[in-house]
Symmetry: C2
C-alpha cells in the first residue's frame, strides 16, 4: 500500500475538531508550528466555525481534494466518519478515536470491520487509538499532543508502538539538535503496523537511519525482509524491543494485545538480520542521533582523546566492558603526539592531553588530528564540551567549534565528537552545533554505548553475503526419507534420522536379550553404554534406565538386568523396544544442540553447553531458519563455552567445524520436517578434538504425525 498520502498529504481534514478539545488545540497548533503548507479543513457539524475557519458538516462537504483525514470523533460514530471519508475520496486516515481492540472483544470486532472496510476502498489507516505522526521532511505534524517547537527535518525515520512516548522522544532529540525527519506512533495497528511504516521509510531517500520501539513483532517474515532491505541499503535499523522479560511480555499483551512470541526468538531474529539493538529510550535516541550524523562505525578499535585523566579512566573501563578495543598507537602516532603535547603528558590510548588545555585550547584538536592518521584506529572519539552560554569570548567559542567541525569533516577518517557527560544542549549550544553542522555524542558512557550498538550494523554488513546466501539458498540436495509417525521417536529412530542428515551417532545396536547385549558389546568394543529404549521413558536417567562406562562383559551383563528392572519399576506399563548398546564415548565436551519451535517465529536452532550446565548457566545461542554457515559458526563463537571449546588447561581444541556443521544439519532437518516438527533435542552432543567430529550420544525428536500416518511411531 502506498503511504505517501498518509505521511506526506497535500491537504488535511480534521474530523470531529473542536476548539474546546485539548487534542484539537494541540493538532491545530502543531500543524501551524511545523509549517504545513497545504489547506487544513475543519469538520464539525455542531459549529459554524472552528479555530477561526469554516467548519464543514461532513468531509464530503469540503470543497477540493482531501488526502488525509485526522479523525477524532467519539467511538460510536467512528464508522460513520470512515464512510464519510470514503465518500469524499480521502486516501488516508489517522484515527485518534479509541475504544477498539484495546477494549476487548466487541472493540476488536469493530476495529476489524473498520479496517476491512477501509482496505476495500484502498484507504490507508494509521491507528485507531493513535496520536498520529510528525513528518518534518514534509512539513506535517498530524499529532495530538502539544509540541513545544517544530521538528527539524533530517535523516531519522522512526516508528513507536507507544504514542505517549513520541513527545518525550521528539523533545529529547530536539534538545540535542538531531534531525528527526519522520516519527510515527502506530496505535492499534488495525491495518498498518510498524513493519509497514519501516518498509515505506526504508525506501525514502531522505531517510538514512531507521528506528523502532516495538512491543511485539507481528509478522516476523515481513519484518525480516525490511531489516534485510535496510541492511542491503546500508541504512542502520535501531530497535528497542520490549517484552524481553516475563513481566514485560504481560504488560505488552495488555497494552496492544500483540502476541509476543518468545523473547529469545525475537532477539535472534533481530540479531540475524543485522538490527542494532538497544534497551533504553536514552540509548535509542543517542544511537539514532549518532548514526544520523556519522553513519555506522567502520570497526571496534577506538582511539579516544580527552583533556582529563578521569574521563580517560571512565572511557577505558566502559569501553572495555562494552567489548570495544583501545589499540596501542602506532610508533609514528606516538612520535607525532610527543611533538604536539606537553612533555608531562603520557602518550597512550585513551589519551589525556592534560589540563594544559586551559592554557592552550587547541591541544585536543591537534592530538585528535594526529590520532586520526593512526592505521590501528577505526573510530576516533574526541571528548569536548559544548558551551552553555557565549561567555566573555563568543568569537573564541565559535573558532573552536569551527576547528572541531573541520576536524570531523576534513580528517578523511571516522572522527566523532563526544561530550564528557550526558545532558541536554542549552539554546546557545543548540544554535552553535546547528550552525557548524556538528553532532556531539551525549556523554562518554552513552556515546560508547551508541558506538557499540551501531557495530551490530557494521558487522552484519560484513556478513551480508552469508545472510543473503542463506536466505536465497535453494536446497537442491535429495532429502532423506522422513518417518511418517508422530509423537516422540524412540532414541534409535531419532538417531537414525540424525544420521541420515549427516550428524554422526555412536557405534551401537539394539539388543532384545542379555546375550544379544553381550554380543553387541564384544562387537562394538568395551567400554560401552546401555540404555533401555522406550517411547514412554523420555527421562531415562531419572528412571535408572542407563548404565555408563561398562568396562567388562560382567559389568555389561549385570547392567542389562539392572536397568531393565529399574525401568519396569519406574513405569510398569512402559513399552520397551529393547536395550541400546553403544560405544562409551567421553573424550570430548558435552554440548546440547537442537531445534525449538516458537508459535510466532517458527523453528530455531539452538546450541549450548550440555549436562547440568544448560539451565544453570543460561549459555546458549539461538538462530532462526534459514541458517547459513557463517551464522552457525557465529552461534558457537558467541557462547561463553567457546573458551572451553577452543581448549583450556592443556586440553586440545574441540572440533568446532563439525559442531557448526551439525547445527546446519539440524537446520536442514527442521526445514525438511517443516510444520510437522515439534522439537529436536540432542543432549549430549559430544564434541571431540579437532578433526575427530561430533557424536549425538542421545537424541529426542518430537513430530506431528504425517497426514494419514499413525499417531505414534514405534
Amino acid at each position: 500500500m502506498d503511504l505517501s498520502h498518509l505521511l506526506a498529504p497535500r491537504s488535511i481534514a480534521l474530523v470531529g475538531v473542536s476548539e474546546s478539545s485539548r487534542w484539537s488545540q494541540a493538532i491545530v497548533n502543531n500543524l501551524k508550528l511545523q509549517g504545513f503548507p497545504g489547506p487544513v479543513h475543519m469538520v464539525n457539524p455542531r459549529h459554524e466555525t472552528e479555530f477561526g475557519q469554516v467548519s464543514h458538516p461532513c468531509v464530503a462537504a469540503i470543497p477540493g481534494e482531501v488526502d488525509l483525514a485526522y479523525v477524532m470523533v467519539p467511538t460510536a460514530i467512528a464508522e460513520i466518519a470512515a464512510r464519510d471519508c470514503v465518500a469524499k475520496g480521502v486516501r488516508a486516515i489517522v484515527m485518534l478515536t479509541s475504544g477498539f481492540a484495546e477494549m476487548g472483544e466487541a472493540g476488536a470486532a469493530a476495529q476489524h470491520r473498520l479496517s476491512s472496510y477501509l482496505a476495500q476502498h484502498d484507504v490507508a489507516l494509521c491507528g485507531p487509538n493513535c496520536l498520529g505522526y510528525i513528518n518534518a521532511n514534509a512539513g506535517v505534524a498530524a499529532y495530538a499532543l502539544t509540541m513545544v517547537e517544530a521538528s527539524r527535518p533530517g535523516p531519522i525515520g522512526a516508528v513507536l508502538q507507544s504514542g505517549a512516548l513520541l513527545l518525550p522522544v521528539l523533545r529529547a532529540m530536539q534538545k540535542r539538535e538531531m534531525g528527526l525527519g519522520v516519527l510515527i506512533s502506530s496505535g492499534n495497528e488495525a491495518m498498518l503496523d510498524a513493519t509497514d511504516y519501516l518498509a515505506h521509510m526504508v525506501e525514502d531517500p531522505q531517510i538514512t537511519v531507521l528506528g523502532a520501539l516495538l512491543e511485539g513483532i507481528r509478522r516476523p517474515a515481513a519484518f525480516a525482509a525490511v531489516a534485510d532491505r535496510a541492511l542491503h541499503l546500508g541504512k542502520p535499523l535501531v530497535v528497542l524491543k520490549m517484552g524481553r522479560s516475563e513481566v514485560g511480555q504481560r504488560v505488552a499483551l495488555a497494552h496492544t494485545g500483540a502476541m509476543a512470541g518468545s523473547a529469545r526468538f525475537a532477539e535472534a531474529l533481530l540479531r540475524q538480520h543485522g538490527v542494532v539493538q538497544v534497551h533504553t529510550l536514552e540509548d535509542m535516541i543517542e544511537t539514532l542521533g549518532y548514526l544520523s550524523a556519522y553513519g555506522a562505525p567502520p570497526g571496534d578499535r577506538i582511539g579516544l582523546i580527552a583533556s582529563s585523566g578521569g574521563t580517560c579512566g571512565l572511557a577505558s573501563d566502559l569501553g572495555t566492558e562494552l567489548g570495544l578495543r583501545y589499540p596501542a598507537f602506532a610508533a609514528s602516532t606516538r612520535a607525532r603526539l610527543q611533538e604536539v603535547l606537553p612533555e608531562f603528558a603520557t602518550i597512550q590510548n585513551p589519551l589525556d592531553v592534560t589540563g594544559y588545555v586551559v592554557i592552550q585550547p587547541d591541544l585536543a584538536s591537534n592530538a585528535t588530528r594526529v590520532v586520526a592518521q593512526d592505521p590501528e584506529v577505526d573510530v576516533v572519539v574526541s571528548v569536548t564540551a559544548v558551551p552553555e552560554s557565549p561567555g566573555p569570548a563568543p568569537h573564541l567559542i565559535d573558532q573552536r567549534m569551527a576547528e572541531q567541525a573541520e576536524m570531523v569533516r576534513g580528517a578523511g577518517r571516522y572522527v566523532v565528537l563526544a561530550s564528557t557527560q550526558a545532558g541536554d544542549l542549552s539554546p546557545f549550544g543548540r544554535e552553535l552545533v546547528r550552525r557548524h553542522g556538528v553532532y556531539v555524542l551525549g556523554g562518554v558512557a552513552g556515546g560508547l554505548r551508541a558506538i557499540r550498538a551501531a557495530l551490530d550494523h557494521t558487522r552484519a554488513r560484513h556478513r551480508l553475503a552469508d545472510v543473503e546466501a542463506a536466505a536465497a539458498a535453494t536446497n537442491d540436495r535429495i532429502l532423506p526419507p522422513l518417518p511418517g509417525g508422530g509423537g516422540p521417536l524412540d532414541e534409535a529412530a531419532a538417531k537414525r534420522l540424525l544420521g541420515d542428515f549427516g550428524v554422526a551417532t555412536p557405534r551401537e545396536g539394539m539388543a532384545a536379550s542379555r546375550d544379544a547385549a553381550l554380543a553387541l558389546a564384544r562387537e562394538i568394543g568395551l567400554p560401552v553404554v546401555l540404555k533401555v529404549v522406550s517411547p514412554d521413558l523420555p527421562h531415562k536417567t531419572e528412571a535408572g534406565a542407563v548404565a555408563l562406562d561398562l568396562r567388562s562383559l560382567d559389568e555389561v551383563g549385570a547392567a542389562y538386568d539392572r536397568i531393565l528392572a529399574s525401568a519396569r519399576r519406574y513405569r510398569p506399563d512402559a513399552r520397551i523396544a529393547g536395550v541400546l548398546v553403544a560405544e562409551h564415548a567421553a573424550d570430548g565436551i558435552e554440548m546440547l544442540a537442537g531445534v525449538q519451535v516458537d508459535p510466532v517465529f517458527g523453528p530455531g536452532v539452538v546450541v549450548g553447553l550440555g549436562g547440568i550446565f544448560v539451565e544453570a548457566l543460561g549459555d546458549s545461542a539461538l538462530r532462526l531458519l534459514p541458517l547459513g554457515p557463517g551464522e552457525a559458526r557465529a552461534m558457537v563463537e558467541e557462547l561463553r563455552a567457546h573458551t572451553i571449546l577452543k581448549g583450556v588447561r592443556g586440553r586440545p581444541p574441540a572440533d568446532v567445524d563439525a559442531l557448526a556443521a551439525a547445527l546446519l544439519a539440524l537446520g536442514e532437518m527442521a526445514a525438511a520436517l517443516g510444520p510437522r516438527l515439534r522439537a529436536i533435542d540432542v543432549n549430549p552432543l559430544l564434541v571431540r578434538a579437532a578433526g575427530r567430529g561430533v557424536l549425538a550420544l542421545d537424541a529426542l525428536v518430537d513430530l506431528e504425525p504425517a497426514v494419514g500416518a499413525p499417531a505414534v511411531a514405534l
Copy 2:
C-alpha cells in the same frame, strides 16, 4: 587531622593571585558567587592591587588571621610559599600548583618534602595539582574553574580523584536541582587522600550521602573503616571505581601514579563494606541525587505507575534485568484501583493508568496513593513529567506538583517520582521542584538503576551484624601447628593442613611401592584414585601422573606402574615422595576454592565452579578477610553455579552449608598463616549432597618459609 580549617575556613588568602590569570579570575568569581562571608586576601608581590583589593607581598604581611591559603604560584616557588604560610600560622592549604608527583621522580621528591614539612607544622594540604573544592554548606568555593552559578547547599558530600570532572558533575547536579553540599577534588593527594575527606564528611551532620570517584584505593583498611562507619550511621556511600579494566588501570597509573591493586579485590572490598557501586558518571550523579532526596530504598519490590503502556513495558524489562521485582498487587489494592481507574485499564504491576490521564490529570496520583498502601510493595515509583515551561495554565501545574509533593511526603510509605526519560530540568522546572521540595528521578532507566544500586546499602545494613561480628571476631580457638617450610607444600602436606583447619579430605594414604598401593586400595575400598606426589609436579594431569576411577586391583597395579613411568618421562629429575592412593569420590559438584593474595588488598577467599569451567565461565566470588559466615554464604549464593548447587535435573541439592564452612576455614587458615601465605588452591573441592559435606580432592598451598626454616618443605 582536623579538616575544618581547610573545608570551612573563616578567611582565605589567594597566594599568587593575578588579574590576568584565568585560574585567578575563576576563583575570585566563584568565592563571590558562592557568597563566601569571610575576608579574601590577595597575595602577589609584583602588584599593588589585585581585583580591586590591596595585594600583599607575602602571606605573613596579611593583617589578621588566615585559615586557608589557596596557592597558585609557579612550581619553583611552591615550597617558599608553603614556608610563608607556615610563618603566618595558616592552618590549611589548597595547592593548585602542578609539577609534582605527576611529573616523575624529581617532582615526587619535591612533593614528599612539601607534604612532610606541612605535616610537621600541622597544616592540612589539599593537592597539589588540585583544582580545589566547593563547600556550599559553608559558603566556600575554593575552586579554580569558572562556575556558572552557586552550588546549592545540601546533604551530598563527594570527593573526586579527577579535578576536571568536578565542574561537569556540579553542573549536572545543578541542572537537576540536587543539593550538593561539599564537592572536593583531591589532586595528587600528597597528604590528604580521598579516604581522609570521606572520613571527615561522614561525621558531618549536614552530610547524609557520600560519593567518591576513585582511581585507586591507596589505604584499603582505612577506606574500609570509613565505609563501615558510613554504613553504621546509615549514610550511603556511592563509589565509581575506575581501573576495572586493564586499560583503565594503565590510564589511572599514568594519571595519579596510584598503585591500583587488582580490580577484583577492590570490587570485593567495596561490596563487603556495603558501598553502593556505580559504573558511569551519570549513574553516580543520579544515585547521589536520589539517595539525598529519598534515602535508601527499603527493599527490591517495586510498584510502578505510569500513564503510558510503553513506559510500563520499558520499566518491566529494565527492572527485571536489574534484578528488581514487580510483585502482583494485593487483592485489596486491585479492588481499590478498579474504583479509581477507567474501566478499560488493566490492573497489573507495572500499572498503566492509560492515556485518559489527559482528561483526568489526577489519575496517576490517585493510583499511586492506592499502590502506596500495598503491603507487597517496598518502593512505589510514580512516573511523571516536570513541565518545561509554565504554559497556558501555570496554576494547574503548581497544583499538580503540590499534589505530588504531598503524595511523596504524606503517604507514610516510600514513594518516589521519576520522569519518563533522562534530561536536564528547564529553569522553570528547577524552580518548580525546588519550591515544592521534590526530587524527580531522571528517567525510568536511570531511576531504576539508581534504586538498584542503592539497594547495595540497604542489603549491607541488613547484614551489618554479620559484618561487624566478623570485623570484631577475636579468634580464641587454638590454632593447629603450621608447617615451617616455604615453597609449595606437596599434596599430602597441603591436605593435612586443610584437614587441621577442618576442611575434609578423602580417605587416602601414601604408598612407596606397588604392593603398598594395592594394600591401601583394599583398605580404602574400590574405586580409588592414584597420584604421584612430588613438589616438582604441580600440574599432575599434564604429567600423566594421575589415574582416576580404578575399579579393580588389577587396574590399581597397572596404573601404579603407568603413572610413575609417565611422571619420570615428563620430568626425569622430579623428586618423588610416593604415590597417593585415595578414595575415588565423584558423587558431587566439582568446585574450586582458595585464597589469593593481592599486593595492595592482602588475602581474599575465592570460590567458583571447578574443572575446565573456571577460566571459561569466569564464575567466581571473592571476599577479603575477615570473612564472616553471612558473607561466606553470600559468596556461594552470588555464583551462577548456585543454581547447580541448589539441584538441577533431578539432582539433589548440594551441601552449601559445608561449602560455606570450608570457605570460612580457608579464611581462618589465611589469617593464621598471615604474611607467609602466597596462595591456597583447592581444586577440585567436591561438594556432595546436602548433609554429606565437602572433600578437598586436590590442594596446593604455597608459603613463604617461616623465619629460620628451610626454603622448601619436603
